[in-house]
Every structure is written in structure tokens, then in C-alpha cells.
């Protein structure tokens, strides 16, 4: 039987209460939302927090809404709700593509968007998708809120820049007209973590790529993105050559680990191919040609 080490349990009633509880209990306290990342780690004793602060009652963090030119997603939005959201699909198909291949429907009923980002697993799909989107994360502490780009959130495997007494409350996505997006993932079996995965967000001005975001999961890309590949094709014509160039640079700049999901060189080749497919689909969607 896998059982976590003993801990104290607290239930937060508001964001302010969660922050106050984090401050009172210090560095060995952790927030728990869906629990599908932290509980498995606790069962394996990779994590042994002294206090768990349950934030499932913070319903104010469960909303998805549009504010001006931003799409806002509460940190406690479940994966299932992100997948079911029409407004999310309208602006960012990449998120629906990604959610369809994150775990399984029952796990998606519990796991949260904020929890996935904060867990910062190197193979986590939403970090790559939201990195490609260039989303921001709102982080609250007793001193107020600060906004951090998703691309700056992760400081290492399973590590983020969120301080012990802070809580991620919201993700903000820019809404850009003329944008198409897509996510492609290869997994060993349904619901598994990626062998490799790539996401693309493309904004076209006529035939020119005016902005592009390329996200990568599970292949050791710094901050889950291929920024050199983005720089190489921004301003170019959206054609086969640009797609191939980005794919090649992205494959070169990632650093996949050899593990039970495959050897490094295989994953590198796969990352390139998936970048190609994600870019092609994103561009087609941008042009209104469904792919």
C-alpha cells in the first residue's frame, strides 16, 4: 500500500486565507488542488510536506473569462473544464488539442491548470502550450500580486519562481486576431506523458509570419519553448521552407533525456517532426483551412 507520510490538513476559505495559512505554516506547507501531481509524489515519499492546504473551496479561481484582449483562466479550472470551454477553443485550439491527450477523462475531472503549471514536470503539456501562447501567470502573496510570463515560471525540473507563501491564481492569454494554433504529441499509450510533444501558435499578416510561438514538452527545451526556431522564422513567408527550418532548429536546440520513453536522438528527431506538424496545422487553421 502506498501511503503518504503524516501531515496536517488545512482547508483554505479564500485566496487571502490560503496565503495566511502558507505564511503561518512556513516552507514545509504545500497547496493541494486536484492532487494528481502531489499525492503520487507523496506516496512515493519524493515529497513529504508537513502541512497540506486544500484550496478546492476557492471557487473564485474556477472561472474562464475574456477581459479586453485577454483570455483569463482561473488557476483552479479543471482540465476537463478547459477542454469543454467554447471560448478557449475559439481563441486557442492548441489548448483543446493538448487537453485531449492529457491523462484521461477521469483524471482531467480533478487535475487543475494551475496545479499542472506549478508542478513544473518537464513533460507537462500545458507548460509547453501556454509557453507557445506566451501566457502570463498571476501570482498572489501577502504583498499583493505579480505577473510572471509562463516562459519564466519554471526554474528547473519541478521548480518554479513561486515563493513558499505565494499562490498562482490566474493565467492570462493574449488574444491576437489572425492567430492559429495546434498541439501534437506522441505517447507510448493513451493517457501517458509525452515521449515528445510540440505546440505552435502562429499569427499571419497576409502570408507573413508576424509572430510565432513554439512550445516543446518532455525534450529538455529551456522554459518549454524553442526560441531560436521562433526567431528564425518570424517575419518570413509562411511556407514549407519556414516550417522545415523551424523544425530543424527546434530539434537542434532541445536536449532530450534518454529514458524509458526512448533514446535522446529518437526524441530529437521526433521533436522536429512534431514541430513541423504543429506549425503546418497552426498555419492552416490561421488561414481558415481546417487541418
Amino acid at each position: 500500500m502506498q501511503v503518504p507520510a503524516p501531515f496536517e490538513y488545512e482547508r483554505a476559505t479564500s485566496v487571502d486565507d490560503a496565503i495566511a495559512l502558507l505564511e503561518r505554516h512556513g516552507e514545509e506547507a504545500r497547496l493541494i488542488a486536484g492532487g494528481h501531481s502531489i499525492l503520487p509524489l507523496m506516496k512515493l515519499r519524493f515529497a513529504a510536506p508537513e502541512v497540506l492546504i486544500d484550496i478546492n473551496d476557492l471557487t473564485e479561481l474556477e472561472r474562464i473569462w475574456v477581459a479586453g484582449d485577454q483570455l483569463c483562466i482561473g488557476a483552479l479550472v479543471r482540465h476537463a473544464d478547459l477542454l469543454a470551454s467554447a471560448v478557449v477553443g475559439e481563441h486557442y485550439r492548441i489548448l483543446h488539442d493538448a487537453e485531449r491527450v492529457i491523462a484521461d477523462p477521469v483524471v482531467r475531472n480533478r487535475g487543475t491548470v494551475g496545479g499542472s503549471l506549478c508542478h513544473a514536470d518537464p513533460a507537462e503539456d500545458l507548460s509547453a502550450a501556454l509557453g507557445a501562447i506566451r501566457a502570463d501567470v498571476v501570482i498572489m502573496g501577502s504583498g499583493g500580486e505579480r505577473v510572471v510570463p509562463v516562459r519564466g515560471l519554471q526554474t528547473g525540473p519541478f521548480e518554479t519562481c513561486i515563493a513558499p507563501a505565494e499562490i498562482a491564481t490566474e493565467i492570462r492569454l493574449p488574444i491576437r486576431p489572425g492567430t492559429g494554433s495546434a498541439y501534437c504529441k506522441v505517447e507510448r499509450r493513451a493517457g501517458d506523458y509525452a515521449v515528445a510533444a510540440a505546440g505552435a501558435v502562429v499569427t499571419l499578416d497576409g502570408d507573413t509570419i508576424s509572430e510565432v510561438g513554439i512550445g516543446l514538452a518532455a525534450v529538455g527545451a529551456p522554459h518549454f519553448v524553442a526560441s531560436r526556431a521562433e526567431d528564425a522564422i518570424r517575419g518570413r513567408r509562411a511556407d514549407v521552407e519556414a516550417v522545415s527550418l523551424a523544425a530543424q532548429i527546434a530539434a537542434d536546440e532541445c536536449n532530450p533525456p534518454t529514458d524509458q520513453r526512448g533514446p535522446s536522438d529518437y526524441k530529437r528527431a521526433l521533436a522536429g517532426e512534431l514541430v513541423k506538424r504543429a506549425l503546418r496545422t497552426a498555419i492552416a487553421r490561421c488561414r481558415g483551412q481546417e487541418a
Partner: protein, 162 residues
């Protein structure tokens, strides 16, 4: 710590350790062993129960997190001495062999049919993709769900109306 959980319509209060998982609360504290305990890693889905009407893997939820909420287990599917259509479907279409995955399968697919009374085969297979079966090859499970979709429970008010 003290928890109060409504399980199959009945309220239970227990003094528990915060680290107790919901699956063990149901099995060991309440004696409801119809909820099975399998992989312990949220992969296999044999421990699926419904919490507030939504299927969750009870090996990856603390009993403490269920306090104040409503849990439905396989023991609660039967109503007024009559099996739920999903139970009848699994029986009629031979949707089980060893039966280890069956409670989780039924609580997941009951939820599917509540949300989508006429699912396609692809939708059924997608819904149960977090519930592993090592016996049936899934074919008869899909048939069982289709059977249940074709035989919805007739509620008392509908009987009176007709």
C-alpha cells in the same frame, strides 16, 4: 481529524488521519469493499467513485478532501431494489470476466450516460480510457454501455405520467 462524508445518501462521520486516502476510507472505515483498490497511481481506474456526481480516482484523493461532499459508490447504484441500467447492461452483455475493473467502469459510464444519453462507440471508448480492463478487450463493455443507453431507467414520475 473529524470528517463527515455522505456516501450513497447516508452521512458518515469518522475520526481519521489526514493522510487516509478516500479509497481506504470507503473500504476500511465504512466496509464498502465494492470500490476496488488497484494500481495506486491513478492509472487503472478500478477505484473510481463519483464525488458530487463526477467520477474521480479515489486512490488519488484524500478522505479529508471529500468531507462535506457526496460520494456515490457501486453499492449506491441500485435503487429501490432495482439494478441501475448500467449494471443490467454489464450483466446482459457480459461486460465483465474477473470483475475487478467493473465498479469503476460502471461509475464512469453512469456519468457518461447522465451527460450524454446516446454516446457513439468512440465516445464510450474515450470515456473509459482511464479505466483499464485486462479481460474483455473492451468490446463487451462498450456493448454493455450501449445496452444501458437503450434502456434508461424509467423514473416514478414518468411512470405516473404515462
Amino acid at each position: 481529524m473529524q470528517v463527515t462524508v455522505k456516501v450513497n445518501g447516508e452521512e458518515y462521520s469518522r475520526e481519521i488521519e489526514p493522510r487516509l486516502l478516500l479509497v481506504h476510507f470507503l473500504r476500511d472505515e465504512l466496509g464498502l469493499t465494492g470500490t476496488h483498490w488497484g494500481c495506486d497511481t491513478s492509472n487503472c481506474g478500478v477505484c473510481v467513485v463519483q464525488v458530487d456526481g463526477t467520477p474521480v480516482k479515489s486512490c488519488t484523493m484524500l478522505a479529508a478532501m471529500a468531507s462535506g461532499h457526496e460520494v456515490l459508490t457501486v453499492e449506491g447504484l441500485e435503487q429501490d431494489g432495482e439494478l441501475d441500467p448500467i449494471q443490467q447492461g454489464f450483466m446482459t452483455e457480459h461486460g465483465l470476466q474477473c470483475g475487478f475493473c467493473t465498479p469503476g467502469m460502471m461509475l464512469t459510464t453512469r456519468w457518461l450516460l447522465d451527460a450524454n444519453p446516446h454516446p457513439s462507440d468512440a465516445e464510450i471508448r474515450e470515456a473509459i480510457s482511464g479505466n483499464l480492463c485486462r479481460c474483455t478487450g473492451y468490446e463487451n463493455i462498450v456493448r454493455a454501455v450501449r445496452w444501458a443507453a437503450g434502456h434508461p431507467r424509467v423514473t416514478k414520475t414518468e411512470e405516473v405520467a404515462s
